[in-house]
Amino acid sequence: MTHFLWAALVAGVLFGVGLAMSGMTDPQRVLGFLDIFGDFDPALLFVLGGAVAVTGIAFRFVLRRLAPVFADSFQISHLRSVDRQLLGGAALFGIGWGIAGYCPGPALAGLGVLSREALWFVPAMVAGALIHRALVRV
């Protein structure tokens, strides 16, 4: 296996452990975090806070390089516009997140313990992505 593929695997493992450790894989805690007008549990603020503290500093140094270590170029989005697609999609995503308490990463991590909820949620999520693609094509 190439260095490039090993790096992806290592990043995936660390990402999954981080999600499970953080509490994001527990939908009841996620909904408690989103329930700011009720029994609000603010601890999960530290997940995004901690992650962005690292990326906010590290990405500056990383993106100053001409290229990543194991690839020819950085493949990052150059889209700039805040348009209806972006805001409409984000709004729909948030509604789904608020219904069940799962965003994509934690739902996938749940597959690792064969969580009953993940086994329903993940195929539906894939179907949602495929429906979007089918509608865009038409």
Binding site: G16, L19, A43, V47, A51, A71, G98, V113, I131
Partner: protein, 140 residues
Amino acid sequence: MNSWTTALAGGLLIGVAATILLAFNGRVAGVSGIVNGVLLPRRGDVAWRVLFLVGLVAGGGMYLALVPGAYAPRAGFSVPALVAAGLLVGFGTRMGNGCTSGHGVCGLGRFSLRSLAAVLTFMATAIATTFVIRHVWNWA
């Protein structure tokens, strides 16, 4: 460790993982985008995505299986609600080009205004949805 410390430690680890993927492979650790690239494959651009996702499922699953108290399955949550939520999350993250990791962890990390707009929008609708479900309908 209490929930604040594990939340912070988990968040830092997620940030380190995203930094590794960007620094070594030049790719953004956005989970919905990585999944999408498997569903809509481009030649030479699939294997790393599969390995990242295998790692995520295995790493997350191992932690949940091995650390006492980490996995707290919820009993009796409605299956139609799970399916509806999954459809919205899958559709919405494709339409809006990202989720909590892509726009949140990575987009905010490079100070993208587009990502900030997405994060504020999905946080707002998620909070509003939870409010309606818990305090208006008194369901779940």
